[in-house]
């Protein structure tokens, strides 16, 4: 069972000012998390276009997580508030289409929260691993 466990592919979008720094801090403190997580740096979580998320799923990602500054702490004052609304709506839509809602997540990680970053990634990878391969988005269009 363990041998054949699916290794998920996780794309993490991290804002430059808080979450990317939080990920760096996790590194500084040598807090391990699975190598399945690959981080893409964006200036602000509000730069993350739903198209990027769908594209990641299209190309085989099993989970996508977006990390930004805590609400109220955005380097650009309001970017993450837009992220919050956009992602809430997008994820709700994916759920509506029957895609597992556990495959998408938004998490607020500050530059000081290296431990939270590592814990979040550990948890997210575990959740997505348990779901198995992301077939649904791919299968959505094909007839049963």
């Amino acid at each position: 069972m363990q041998m054949n466990e699916h290794k998920p592919l996780i794309v993490a979008f991290c804002c430059n000012w808080c979450s990317y720094a939080g990920a760096d801090l996790a590194g500084n403190n040598r807090l391990n998390y699975p190598a399945e997580v690959k981080i893409i740096r964006v200036p602000c979580s509000c730069r993350v276009n739903p198209m990027f998320i769908l594209r990641a799923f299209q190309r085989g990602a099993d989970g996508v997580i977006i990390c930004g500054c805590h609400p109220g702490d955005c380097h650009y004052t309001s970017g993450n508030y837009y992220t919050r609304r956009r992602m809430a709506m997008l994820f709700s839509m994916l759920d509506y289409l029957g895609i597992e809602k556990e495959r998408t997540r938004v998490e607020w990680v500050s530059a000081a929260e290296g431990a939270k970053f590592a814990a979040t990634m550990n948890d997210f990878v575990a959740t997505v691993t348990a779901l198995g391969e992301n077939k649904r988005l791919e299968d959505l269009r094909c007839k049963k």
Binding site: L9, V11, N16, Y20, A21, A23, D24, L25, A26, G27, N28, R30, L31, N32, Y33, A35, K38, I39, I40, R41, V42, P43, C44, C46, R47, V48, N49, P50, M51, F52, R55, A56, R59, G60, A61, G72, H75, Y76, T77, S78, G79, Y82, R86, A118
Partner: protein
């Protein structure tokens, strides 16, 4: 096609310990666009940077990927390296294989595999990079200081002393702010007026400083280095440049029953008035709500007695438009209203007063000429109860008060208690406190002197109720240390009311697009490293508008803000961040979605003529980004439905290329 060089850093054993750097360099050699790939022990060292420079020259590289530590660490270093070798610095991308790879993964094959993928993503991005040049904008070498209290005064003086012109906008008829109302200052007990008024005079006489008193900022446009500000100068019905401040008009004015705001309404002033003797500018102001001449055209006495001919009943509000390079907010604080604190009977008894009222009662220029007398009957009080934390450190869910500590109350109450005991040893002084907070140079010594030398009764506990009864105030309180209920018959109760930002701060923040916290204090760009800058470029913070502060802290912050302003104004041109949004006019619909999400107001619209696909021309509304204002967050890029808005350095195509590279 780019010619990309890949440089894999070992970082000693930091990276090489868990990532096979040589294998990474070899694997990345096969990526599209890569013409050179190598690894080295310390890429950031002089020798490492030389490897990069030589490779740029030798292989005619157009782009560089450095697989190393976090870009937050050495992106700037490697950009400089590239620039030194004649490559555009924005053709450099970093693959973070230390903090986000070698340090968090223990297994060499896994670390190596991930490092290769991160490298591929960076290469995919560089393939789409374009050289970027930061924009330049000129700097108007003049500063605006909003607020003329000690914070604004100090900032203005420091900027002006450095040789830059400064305008102070103060909404009251005089500068001086709260400090002008204070009696003595802790912990040295020097008199506030003695240290403040010389500074006010300095401001008045400084050839680089203009004071717009009785004025307000009504409109702010533009951006760092280039603000266009509209200032409304309220009509004071007195010609400022003619009035000599002799005060003849004031003494002749028959309208004498106007509550004097400078003394917090504890005495009266005339309809024409000079707030206090040392006011700057020392000119009279007519209160249009009280003046009979202005209200119904009957009187005109002041005009008759004014030998200078300064009175002008027809004066109108005046608007001044000026350009500034930097704006300093120094709008200060006020005490919160005591209306919601009925338990202390503030609105029922004249003898329950706030600390600022107490300052005026003990001030030689105050309503009692400095004698401590009860406001109700003018009798000297023998038992005084000071209540700390009225409205400070309140429960988050409480409907009244503030969650934060107002910071200055512990010290001024110690000062009040000490001065009272010093001047009137026959007075019993009680101070009720939750905690006494005295961090600050000579602060704790000061407080202990109040307790030990002056015999002030400090009692840990809160006052529950104050009931006026006859000429006494029945104070019910608890003593938490001895667990007793106390009943004190007081003659005077002084409330250390919480302080809050001035009400003018919120609309001002909107005008400046400067951010505020939930308490309406201005937010600093970074709480530790950029404490006197607002996140909005070109807007600086001075004094209590940023958070509760005492005078020494305010003055040091004022100086710090001034030094930041000087640093800005000393530049002839500002270089911007080139990673900013730009709109493709051919695709833009002019729908305004981007404008609505832009936190900086960087987007405007222009009507332009376009050739349409069917060879006709049409005028279309298209977005245009001001490169000096845009900070590059990218909120607009997602709001834009047509994909016309993109972000340089983090372009949609670049991020998608990274996604693709990571997802194979």
């Amino acid at each position: 096609m780019q010619r990309i060089g890949v440089f894999v850093c070992w970082c000693g054993s930091n990276i090489a310990g868990t990532v096979d750097v040589h294998a990474v360099a070899e694997a990345l050699k096969l990526e599209p666009g890569v013409v050179f790939s190598t690894d080295y022990q310390y890429m950031c060292s002089q020798a490492g940077q030389n490897i990069i420079k030589e490779a740029i020259a030798e292989h005619k590289l157009t782009g560089i990927v450095v697989c190393s530590c976090s870009p937050r660490m050495h992106e700037a270093t490697f950009r400089k390296t590239a620039a030194a070798a004649g490559l555009n610095p924005y053709m450099v991308e970093i693959a973070n294989i230390r903090e986000q790879c070698s340090w968090v993964h223990k297994d060499m094959p896994i670390g190596t595999e991930k490092a290769i993928i991160l490298g591929k993503a960076a290469i995919a991005k560089v393939n789409l990079n374009a050289p970027l040049t930061p924009g330049e904008s000129p700097v108007t070498k003049r500063a605006l200081v909003i607020g003329g209290g000690i914070a604004g005064i100090q900032t203005a003086l420091d900027i002006a002393d450095a040789g830059f012109p400064v305008d102070i906008v103060e909404k009251k008829p005089t500068i001086g702010g709260k400090m002008a109302q204070l009696d003595k200052t802790f912990p040295t007990l020097d008199c506030a007026a003695c240290i403040l008024t010389p500074k006010m005079v300095d401001v008045a006489q400084h050839d680089k400083i203009r004071i717009f008193s009785y004025s307000e900022v009504t409109e702010v446009k533009g951006f760092v280095g280039n603000f266009d500000v509209k200032i409304k100068k309220h009509a004071r019905y007195v010609k400022e440049d003619v009035c000599t401040g002799c005060g003849d008009c004031v003494s002749k004015c028959p309208m004498k029953k106007v509550p004097n705001e400078f003394n917090l309404g504890m005495d009266n002033r005339h309809a024409i008035y000079i707030p206090f003797a040392q006011a700057v500018p020392k000119v009279a102001t007519i209160d249009p709500n009280a003046c009979n001449m202005i209200k119904n055209g009957k009187c005109g006495l002041c005009a008759k007695v004014c030998t200078a001919g300064a009175i002008d009943y027809t004066q109108k509000d005046e608007f001044i438009e000026e350009k500034y390079g930097a704006i300093v907010v120094a709008t200060g604080y006020n005490h919160i209203s005591m209306d919601k604190f009925d338990e202390f009977a503030y609105n029922q008894s004249k003898d329950v007063i706030t600390s600022l009222e107490f300052e005026r009662l003990t001030n030689a220029a105050g309503p009692t000429a400095g004698k401590l007398l009860r406001p109700s009957d003018g009798v000297h009080p023998h038992t005084i109860v000071f209540v700390q934390c009225v409205g400070s450190r309140c429960d988050a869910c409480a409907e009244k008060g503030k969650e934060y500590c107002s910071k200055i109350c512990c010290m001024y109450t110690a000062k009040h208690a000490m001065l009272t005991r010093d001047k009137y040893p026959d007075t019993d002084v009680y101070v009720f406190y939750i905690d006494v907070r005295t961090p600050g140079k000579n602060f704790d010594e000061f407080y202990r002197r109040a307790v030990e030398e002056y015999g002030v009764h400090y009692i840990k506990g809160m006052v529950g109720k104050v009931v006026p009864e006859g000429n006494k105030l029945k104070v019910q309180a608890s003593d938490l240390l001895s667990n007793k209920q106390l009943h004190i018959d007081a003659d005077l109760v002084v409330l250390a009311a919480a302080i809050e930002p001035d009400k003018s701060a919120r609309p001002l923040a909107t005008m400046l697009t400067a951010s505020m916290d939930t308490n309406d204090f201005f937010t600093e760009a970074h709480p530790k490293l950029r404490p006197v800058e607002s996140p909005t470029a070109g807007v600086f913070l001075s004094g209590a508008c940023q958070g509760p502060k005492d005078i020494p802290e305010t003055v040091s912050q004022a100086g710090a803000a001034a030094s930041k302003v000087i640093g800005l104004l000393a530049k002839d041109k500002l270089t911007g961040n080139p990673c900013i949004a730009h709109s493709d006019e051919m695709m833009c619909n002019g729908c305004s979605s981007c404008e609505r999400v832009c936190p900086y107001g960087a987007i405007t619209y222009v009507d332009k003529e376009f050739r349409m696909p069917d060879r006709t021309t049409a005028i279309r509304r298209v977005a245009s980004v001001n490169p000096a204002v845009c900070q590059g967050c990218g909120a607009c890029t997602v709001a834009c439905p047509s994909g016309a808005m993109d972000l340089k350095g983090f372009a949609t195509s670049q991020i998608i290329a990274e996604v693709d590279a990571i997802c194979k």
